[in-house]
């Protein structure tokens, strides 16, 4: 039984040696897939997802009637690699859990992406889960934010999502699969500039007082994630600018500016 696993030991360290509010290592790698407009491989601890964004583009003939005259539609597809999950099982496209995950991601981004700039078009977000160790939804959302930003799609703000849980009365942040199976978990997506929450999701029983603790901590953690994500994006943009300047054309432009 998983309940025999000691999730927090006497020294307040968790099963993987983290403190209750410590997040796992995040690594962000842009440009994993050249053909997409924006793509990112995001790994958060042992969870790894790759997101590629295509668009905004004209809707495909079959789905044209689903477009809106005043805004773009988002299309989210999630695939779980059979080798990435603990239990090797093939999941079809009709899997209810994945459909719901996609619907959640879609509705999270609908108010964040400035869809009104692209009427009658579609933005595709393809998510591949390569490895899963807890925090699937937060990883998908963070990666999608980054991928949308690299694709040059205007957003009102970042969405930084993080999972949280409560063990006894101790709030935890950023749960692994072992912890997720055992403690009530909450996923919170915040827009860091305003501090408002776009996504709050919980599927396990938790007393409202305990919820309040973990919810507040998770909102703060979202802002920490934001600094990581913003730095990664800035670095990439900086690289791009440098590369532009290194080109032969740019040297000429610079010389004319100087003279």
């Amino acid at each position: 039984m998983s309940s025999r696993v000691e999730l927090i030991n006497a020294g307040l360290l968790r099963s993987d040696g983290r403190r209750p509010y410590e997040l796992r290592t995040i690594s962000i790698n842009f440009g994993a897939q050249g053909t997409a407009d924006g793509s990112v491989t995001y790994s958060h601890g042992l969870t790894q997802v790759r997101v590629s964004v295509q668009g905004p583009h004209e809707a495909k003939p079959g789905t044209r009637r689903e477009t809106f005259h005043d805004r773009a539609t988002l299309n989210v597809e999630v695939q779980l690699a059979p080798f990435g999950v603990g239990e090797r099982r093939r999941r079809g496209r009709g899997d209810k859990r994945l459909l719901e995950l996609a619907a959640t991601i879609k509705s999270t981004f609908e108010p964040v992406v400035q869809t009104h700039l692209y009427p009658r078009s579609t933005i595709d977000i393809f998510i591949h889960v390569l490895q899963l160790d807890g925090g699937l939804l937060p990883a998908c959302i963070n990666a999608s934010t980054l991928a949308l930003a690299t694709a040059g799609i205007p957003l009102f703000d970042f969405v930084c999502a993080i999972s949280g849980g409560v063990h006894g009365t101790q709030p935890l942040l950023d749960l692994t699969t072992v912890e997720e199976n055992d403690v009530p978990s909450v996923v919170v997506g915040v827009m860091p500039r305003t501090g408002r929450a776009t996504l709050v999701q919980m599927e396990t029983r938790l007393h409202m007082d305990r919820f309040e603790d973990v919810f507040r901590v998770a909102c703060d953690a979202g802002k920490v994630l934001w600094s990581e994500m913003r730095d990664a994006l800035r670095e990439r943009t900086g690289d791009l600018v440098d590369k532009l300047e290194a080109g032969p054309g740019m040297v000429a432009v610079k010389e004319t500016e100087e003279t």
């Binding site: 719901e100 959640t104 879609k106 999270t108 776009t198 409202m208």
Partner: protein, 298 residues
């Protein structure tokens, strides 16, 4: 087909009214429509109506072989269906987005919240368990079918009684029962010792779902239990399933207008009060129904 959006005057009227904290059906911003329950002749058949929204939930039990990985646990399956009968917006065939949401939410509220004790549904470990099958039919959609369906579902679980069974050696015998609606004065005799009244399910807690609708205007406060028009014109829904012990079972807010953390906590507080009231009402109604019912053992 997407439903045609409400006309501009209709939209403006609703938003203006809500800005003055007035709702089109005369309710207060934080008033639920009073749910009414109609019970059928069988136990586990409930029709729940909130205003013009109506949902039928039916529960039946049959004996099956348990899943090999969980030999001690009964099986609970939930089927839900939104047919075009509920509203012309729904089409038969491929499940719509609303239907996926409804199915998943029912699953989370009723099954995954561990409201019903599954181990008590075991008859003979690894051989026979009860399978409970809940079917939820939406008869009419006048807004907020989610809360109404969850309410109908949980009341059906509470209303249901499963037949008593006896295990003699390896044989499983069902003590047959028949429910008859009879006036209270009917005379009963002759209970052979092997025949017993049906027993109710072991229920740990009763979660109720409360949905709030947000509107694009930031000054408009959210309303509870949105009507169809309010739901259409809303800029986001938050569903909170709680029990009377102030435990949150499911909280679902995906997208919609971004909300300040304090606002979310305020809604949870409101939900806890509403749920306590709902719980009382449901208990009273179930008791009333049970008192007027006679269970005959044949």
């Amino acid at each position: 087909m997407r439903p045609p959006s409400p006309s501009i005057p209709e939209k403006k009227f609703l938003y203006d009214a809500l800005k003055q904290s007035l709702r089109l059906d005369g309710r207060d911003m934080l008033d639920l429509r009073t749910p009414t329950f109609t019970f059928g002749p069988e136990l586990g058949w409930v029709e729940c109506a909130m205003g013009k929204t109506r949902v039928i939930a039916q529960l039946d039990a049959k004996m099956v072989k348990p899943l090999p990985e969980r030999p001690f646990e009964g099986i609970i399956t939930i089927h839900s269906e939104i047919s075009p009968m509920a509203s012309p917006d729904y089409e038969p065939g491929r499940p719509s987005e609303e239907e996926v949401t409804l199915t998943r939410m029912l699953d989370k509220v009723l099954r995954r919240s561990d409201a019903i004790d599954k181990e008590s549904l075991c008859i003979l470990a690894g051989q026979r368990v009860w399978q409970l099958r809940l079917t939820v039919h939406v008869l009419a959609d006048a807004g907020n079918i989610l809360d109404c369906s969850c309410l109908a579902g949980i009341v059906a679980f509470k209303h249901f009684r499963k037949p008593d069974v006896e295990v003699i050696g390896d044989e499983v015998t069902v003590v047959r029962i028949e429910m008859i609606l009879l006036p209270k004065l009917t005379f009963f005799e002759q209970h052979s010792p092997s025949e017993r009244a049906p027993i109710s399910l072991a229920i740990h807690h009763t979660p109720f779902c409360v949905t709030f609708a947000f509107f694009p205007d930031v000054l408009t406060r959210p309303v509870v239990d949105p009507s169809l028009l309010e739901q259409r014109l809303s800029a986001g829904l938050v569903s909170i399933a709680m029990n009377a012990q102030r435990e949150i079972c499911v909280l679902h807010k995906a997208g919609g207008v971004p909300t300040a953390p304090e606002e979310v906590l305020r809604l949870i507080n409101i939900a806890s009060i509403l749920v306590k009231d709902l719980d009382k009402r449901v208990e009273a109604r179930l008791l009333e129904d049970w008192e007027g019912r006679k269970v005959e053992v044949r």
